[in-house]
């Protein structure tokens, strides 16, 4: 387990985010990209049918049940390059809430306004966004307002244009980059002015609270969860 450096801990506390360049690389990155592209393609027709039926959003596509599709989607949940930081920041009491293996349509179809995900009263809620393809500036990169996760920050309001958010920072990056952020902080997908969908995986974690995730939720992958740490992460032991 790679624990965060003092500088990383300081940045996390003060600014609410960390960037792990090349967090996933080499064969693992290739496996991830191959699995992502294969299953995104395999499920696309069904997704479009559900959009047509008014049963799915038309701006992004999440590969359904990714853990059933390929073990690489399980392996990235506790991937060494960022797992240590997740554990450290949650006092080694981390649970997975859900993964989103997501393709997002380019502008002007896809548009998300600046927002926080959870209120300050929520247990520590962390997201890790992993770029599956290279995401250049103007290509739907992640945006975050440093320090906006703090209780005394703001107040913030959603501007009409993404780039008008005061104090924000954007995070273009190479495939395999992982961005970890406190979900109380204001964040967004910047507009994607390229003509290709942005492919990324968003993993949602939280500091454990009793009963948050039941043991049945991820029971179907118990064969991949042989260590006590993984069983705890996936709430398999209640």
């Amino acid at each position: 387990m790679i624990l965060p450096t003092p500088a990383e801990k300081k940045q996390w506390e003060e600014e609410g985010y960390l960037v792990f360049e090349n967090a996933i690389q080499g064969e693992d990155l290739k496996r991830l990209q191959t699995a992502f592209d294969y299953w995104a393609d395999a499920g696309k027709a069904d997704w479009l049918d559900r959009v047509e039926a008014g049963e799915a959003a038309a701006t992004f596509y999440d590969i359904p049940n990714p853990f059933e599709k390929d073990p690489i989607f399980i392996d990235i949940i506790d991937y060494p390059s960022y797992y240590g930081a997740l554990m450290e920041f949650t006092d080694h009491d981390l649970i997975l809430l859900a993964p989103q293996v997501r393709s997002v349509a380019p502008w002007p179809v896809s548009y998300t306004g600046w927002h926080p995900d959870v209120p300050q009263s929520n247990p520590l809620h962390i997201k890790v966004q992993i770029y599956v393809n290279d995401v250049e500036a103007g290509g739907g990169e992640f945006g975050f307002v440093p320090s906006s996760h703090k209780p005394d920050a703001g107040p913030y309001t959603r501007p009409m244009r993404q780039e008008s958010m005061p104090g924000h920072k954007t995070f273009p990056g190479k495939a395999g980059t992982a961005i970890m952020f406190n979900s109380c902080g204001w964040h967004v997908s910047m507009d994607n002015h390229s003509d290709v969908p942005r492919k990324s995986i968003i993993i949602i974690y939280e500091k454990r609270t009793p009963g948050r995730i039941g043991p049945e939720q991820y029971a179907f992958i118990s064969e991949y969860c042989q260590t006590p740490e993984r069983r705890k992460l996936f709430s398999l032991d209640g």
């Binding site: 696309k44 479009l48 959009v51 047509e52 039926a53 008014g54 049963e55 799915a56 959003a57 038309a58 701006t59 992004f60 596509y61 393709s103 349509a105 002007p108 179809v109 548009y111 009409m160 244009r161 003509d195 969908p197």
Partner: protein, 297 residues
């Protein structure tokens, strides 16, 4: 400030003078004439209205609408239809708007790629010539997009920022196979509990030329009037579009029996109780007058 019902339908019995399509819900002998509408408007202090063509898109099918607009030029403006696949839609639109009171046209499809991730060239959409014509001739586009067309709309809105767009019925995009008629003869649209339109049409709030009807609640709600389960949708639209781009409408005549025209004149106060007096007046007519350019009474 006038009170304006911004979307409804009138029709008369099918005849050689007023030919129209017929269906189980609007058989040949059924009529919901403009005089009946005027009685309701009078009773409930509604000053003006937008008459939206139904039961046929040919020029001849529009005769009754044109007669109503001619008879009451200060009370009504009209929205027409264009036959699907018309070889020359711009001629059709020009004929129907030649000093008639018809100010725009209603559409639900745009003829672009079904694949949301496909590379898009808006000039290749079937609807492109119609939008171009609307931009040149200042038509209003009255839209009730099918769910599989919602992703095409931002490309058109972005390409034609000068076109006034009005999204019908809470900006909902009905899904295929989700339409039916209820026991009162009203359209019913089955929608998901999670409001998917917040990802599509609600996002169009960033375009200043896009406006939304607060109407058709009966078709989406799981409750009786005042449809409190839709209060969140109304708040979302108010937050996104602001009180200056929302328009109240009843969708007469479908609502005559249940809940009744009078009740629907209070639906906005019921669902958005925190509106200021000025905001309510805007939604109940001020916006329609400004955006659609209703004549002074």
């Amino acid at each position: 400030m006038p009170r304006i019902d911004a979307h409804l339908h009138v029709f008369t019995k099918a005849s050689s003078e007023f030919p129209r399509e017929i269906s189980d819900v609007w058989p040949a002998e059924r009529e919901e004439p403009v005089e009946k509408l005027l009685e309701e408007m009078e009773k409930h202090q509604i000053d003006q209205a937008v008459l939206v063509q139904m039961a046929g898109a040919s020029i001849a099918n529009h005769r009754y609408l044109l007669r109503c607009l001619k008879a009451y030029p200060n009370r009504f403006l009209g929205i027409g239809l264009v036959p699907e696949g018309h070889p020359n839609p711009t001629d059709h639109m020009a004929e129907l708007t030649d000093n008639t009171g018809i100010i725009g046209f209603r559409f639900s499809t745009f003829g672009g790629p079904r694949d949301i991730f496909a590379k898009m060239d808006v000039r290749e959409f079937d609807a492109y010539p119609i939008w171009k014509c609307a931009a040149e001739r200042d038509y209003v586009l009255w839209l009730y997009p099918n769910a599989i067309n919602a992703h095409l709309l931002p490309y058109l809105v972005q390409e034609f920022p000068q076109v006034r767009v009005v999204l019908n019925h809470l900006a909902v995009c009905p899904g295929k196979g989700k339409f039916s008629w209820d026991e009162y003869g009203r359209p019913q649209i089955q929608v998901t509990g999670y409001n998917l339109t917040m990802h599509t049409t609600y996002r169009l709030a960033r375009f200043e030329n896009v406006n939304v009807h607060l109407s058709g609640q009966y078709a989406f709600s799981q409750e009786e009037f005042p449809y409190k389960d839709l209060a969140g949708w109304h708040r979302g639209l108010l937050t996104g579009f602001g009180a200056k781009r929302l328009m109240w409408a009843t969708d007469f005549p479908w609502i005559l029996e249940e809940p009744g025209y009078g009740k629907l004149t209070t639906v906005i106060e019921e669902l958005l109780p925190d509106l200021s007096e000025a905001e309510l007046a805007d939604i109940m007519g001020g916006n329609a007058k400004r955006i659609l350019r209703f004549p002074d009474l």
